[in-house]
């Protein structure tokens, strides 16, 4: 087991190095000189020159990469060229916002998707099944930004129930925080709920045909107990796995949703940074996200080893 985990730990370092090289190189492929964005409308040649010098843009790419990664290894992700604040500070303020949004979206997705999947499987080929499938299909095929704008118009402009955009931290005012994030969380959770619904339905249909379900029914248990306690509990195993995978989709989906609802999270930060050629922010955000992914994978590997004894000898 130690050997296996040792190998997995050792793989983390080259993976992150590769990510850092890729994010750096991909960004260089983006057309347009960042100094042109930073110099303002006047594009004064002297100012352009000075910006290139100050940001090391006049140095060879290899030098620029090592300069950046050298600082990263010392815990310094650089500073935003646009707003001149340290990237680490920005990441620290934005990450909790996106995590709150993603968590709420995930909870909403589970609360909508799983019951709908169960209903659809139990009432197979009835009106309820078709309705649930229809809702699922609509959820999958509705673009986030469109749904977001429609909800803003309906819920905020016409009904005046919720603020149309903005964000208040949970620690500042939890009610206002929920009010500002519930709509974007619903938009973000909507597509995931459709995926969860489809998987729950299919897993439930399989589970309902298993012998243990037939046995439970033969024992005279109520249908409610059979479905919830016997079939759903078993059907949930693949659904939970899928849910964990969809967390990644939530983080990337947050890019558009945050933009529509003006939520100052990770997604909005990276979009603004790309448009403004704010390289240190783009690099920092991608690197932090990749690190989180890699570390979560590592934790998952450790858990697999702990759960599955057959891997311990590996």
């Amino acid at each position: 087991m130690r050997g296996h985990l040792g190998v997995r730990f050792a793989q983390v370092i080259p993976t992150l190095l590769l990510v850092s090289i890729m994010v750096f190189c991909l960004q260089q492929l983006m057309p347009g000189d960042p100094a042109l964005v930073l110099a303002g409308e006047e594009r004064d040649p002297e100012v352009l020159e000075q910006i290139r010098r100050e940001l090391k843009l006049d140095q060879p790419l290899v030098f620029q990469y090592f300069y950046w990664i050298g600082n990263v290894l010392q815990g310094d992700l650089g500073f935003s060229w646009r707003i001149r604040q340290p990237v680490t500070e920005l990441v620290a303020t934005k990450l909790p916002v996106t995590l709150q949004l993603a968590s709420m979206a995930f909870i909403i997705a589970v609360f909508i998707g799983v019951p709908m999947g169960v209903l659809s499987a139990v009432k197979k080929n009835t009106f309820w099944d078709y309705l649930a499938n229809g809702i699922g299909l609509a959820g999958l095929s509705t673009p986030n930004f469109w749904l977001g704008i429609m909800l803003i118009l309906l819920v905020s402009v016409h009904l005046g129930w919720l603020p149309p955009s903005g964000y208040v931290p949970l620690t500042e005012d939890w009610r206002q925080s929920l009010a500002t994030t519930i709509m974007p969380a619903f938009v973000l959770g909507n597509a995931i709920s459709a995926v969860l619904m489809r998987h729950t339905r299919s897993a439930m249909l399989t589970a309902l045909q298993q012998d243990y379900v037939r046995t439970a029914r033969a024992k005279g248990l109520s249908e409610h107990l059979v479905v919830i306690k016997h079939a759903l509990r078993n059907a949930l195993v693949p659904v939970v796995t899928l849910g964990a995978l969809e967390l990644g989709t939530l983080l990337s989906g947050a890019v558009l949703t945050e933009q529509v609802f003006s939520i100052p999270g990770f997604g909005k930060m990276i979009v603004d940074a790309v448009f403004n050629r704010d390289y240190p922010v783009v690099q920092g955000v991608v690197l932090v996200t990749a690190t989180v992914y890699v570390m979560l994978n590592l934790v998952a590997d450790v858990l697999y080893v702990m759960i599955n004894p057959r891997l311990r000898g590996a």
Binding site: P45, Q50, R82, I83, Q85, I149, I152, P164, D272
Partner: protein, 510 residues
């Protein structure tokens, strides 16, 4: 079972109830708070480093300037009680007595010198080019400073109506260094409270402001809301009190809502077709080498129809570098009417046979694409085969600087003084002269216009420049845009100024 259901209903109600309250709160901020929706987040809150238009909007509440412009584009005193041209190279400012920075320190002549030095020497300064004409700054007495220029440069004064003329507290700037933008200290009507990047910038009333009688707000909150329709929805829902950066299509929707006050007012800038004459190594085409071909292209385009189709008729057609609201506007250079027959005749005279292929580069945006298609279709009738090259904005700028284009659809946000709309664009070797146009007569006229303080005399000189440019056509000016802003019914007292900045003097919110 019924009890369980009841519990669920109660639980849902308990969850929903607290959220209804903040929704109501969102309809109106704390008393005297004005919430302004910006179309993009501001950059560094340091007048020396800042380079964005939205940044200038925030600074207008935060940092006073030596001089300002009024709605007629006259330069008027702000922190300076008066300003005088002692001679063509010496500008004297007398500060108002008793002015204070937000940290309580005095605004004095030494602060003027400190700020000009800071603009010149600070790493990353984007003001350096604007004040490059300064030779030295002299402190005459505690409240009087003289700025001595290297050469006569009347338009320099107009530079001081913006960030170059803003004074920051020398004490705070020295203490904070490069971090000054995190907690800026100026002498404007509002002082800095906090900034959460991409979320909000909060300012509060500065009680010791010299013109405090005109300030009726306690707080201002700037919120970036990038999407235009979302910004509009926020305004209509009352989550913001004011929004800027709307497009002509938004104006149509906002105009229909009687709860909204819409402001469309003339700006200072222009949209043009820039022709590459000799820039770069691209093979020369008739469009680049023959002014008659460019004139034919101009005559093939109906500016008014283009504005009607793409911009809902909101903008103003022009054929010169300043809009009609400018004191430098030359009525002798009106936009010509479309004349396809004359355009064809000019092409024939220039020896062009058959459709002439022309590449039109645009920075990709829905309105630019639409405008390019309208131009394409109009020009085709006169014998031009326009191919549209749509590219991302920064890439287009880079291509323009390198001369890798034939015709470029590009705008300029505009400056209060005509010099700011022309000096860098058509002067031989000017940094924004993408055409690589060179005309000694025009260069000389521009130099002369810089040296004369009298506006009427300068207007006459700029009239000659506009006439010459309309013959040579290195740029074809198409229209001058308008600023589109809107407020809810709660806001009163907003006075638009053509520079498109939001001045909060006199503004009230119920």
């Amino acid at each position: 079972m019924a009890a369980t259901r009841m519990r669920s209903v109660l639980l849902l109600a308990a969850l929903a109830a607290p959220m209804a309250a903040p929704a109501a709160l969102a309809q109106s901020g704390p008393a005297g708070t004005l919430r302004i929706g910006l179309d993009v987040d501001a950059d560094a809150l340091d007048p020396t480093l800042s380079r964005t238009y939205v940044g200038r909007i925030v600074f207008n509440a935060l940092c006073d300037k030596l001089v300002d412009i009024d709605d007629k584009l006259n330069i008027v005193p702000q922190m300076a009680a008066s300003f005088t041209w002692v001679d063509p190279t010496t500008l004297e400012f007398k500060l108002r007595p008793g002015l204070k920075f937000h940290d309580g320190t005095d605004v004095d002549a030494a602060a003027i010198k400190f700020n000009m030095d800071r603009h010149m020497t600070m790493q990353g300064s984007t003001r350096r080019g604007e004040i490059a004409g300064i030779e030295r700054v002299e402190e005459v007495d505690k409240l009087t400073a003289r700025i001595v220029l290297k050469a006569p440069n009347v338009p320099f004064l107009a530079q001081l109506t913006d960030r170059a003329g803003m004074l920051v507290s020398p004490k705070a700037a020295t203490a904070l260094g490069a971090d000054f933008g995190k907690a800026p200290v100026c002498a404007g009507p509002f002082k800095f409270v906090e900034r959460v990047p991409q979320d909000r910038i909060v300012l509060e009333k500065f009680p010791e402001y010299w013109d405090a009688g005109k300030i009726h707000l306690n707080r201002v909150v700037y919120q970036p809301i990038i999407d235009g329709s979302v910004r509009q929805a926020n305004l209509r829902a009352g989550s913001i009190d004011m929004g800027m950066g709307f497009l002509p299509n938004d104006a149509v929707d906002l105009g229909k809502d009687n709860r909204i006050k819409l402001f469309t007012f003339a700006g200072l800038g222009y949209q043009s077709l820039t022709f590459n004459l000799t820039n770069g190594t691209r093979p020369r085409t008739p469009m680049m080498t023959d002014a008659r071909v460019r004139k034919a292209f101009e005559l093939s385009i109906d500016r008014t129809a283009l504005i009607q189709v793409v911009y809902n008729g909101l903008y103003t057609p022009i054929a010169q570098m300043v809009p009609p609201n400018s004191p430098f506007y030359a009525p002798e250079v009106p936009p010509p009417a479309r004349d396809v027959a004359k355009a064809k005749a000019l092409l024939a005279e220039a020896g062009v046979r058959g459709p002439l292929a022309v590449e039109l580069m645009i920075a990709n945006s829905p309105d630019a694409r639409q405008a390019a298609e309208v131009i394409q279709s109009m020009a085709a009738e006169a014998g031009f085969d326009v191919k549209i090259r749509s590219t991302e904005f920064v890439t287009a700028l880079q291509a323009s600087d390198k001369g890798d284009f034939e015709v470029f659809w590009i705008g300029w946000s505009g400056r209060a003084d005509a010099d700011g709309n022309i000096w860098n664009m058509v002067r031989t070797g000017g940094p924004l002269n993408a055409s690589s146009y060179s005309n000694k007569e025009v260069d000389s006229l521009l130099e002369q216009a810089r040296a004369i303080p009298d506006v009427a005399a300068r207007r006459a000189l700029y009239g000659k420049v506009a006439t010459q440019l309309h013959q040579d056509l290195p740029l074809m000016y198409v229209f001058s845009g308008k600023w589109i802003m809107a407020t809810t019914g709660r806001v009163s007292g907003f006075q638009p100024v053509p520079d498109g900045l939001i001045r909060l003097q006199g503004v009230r919110v119920q």
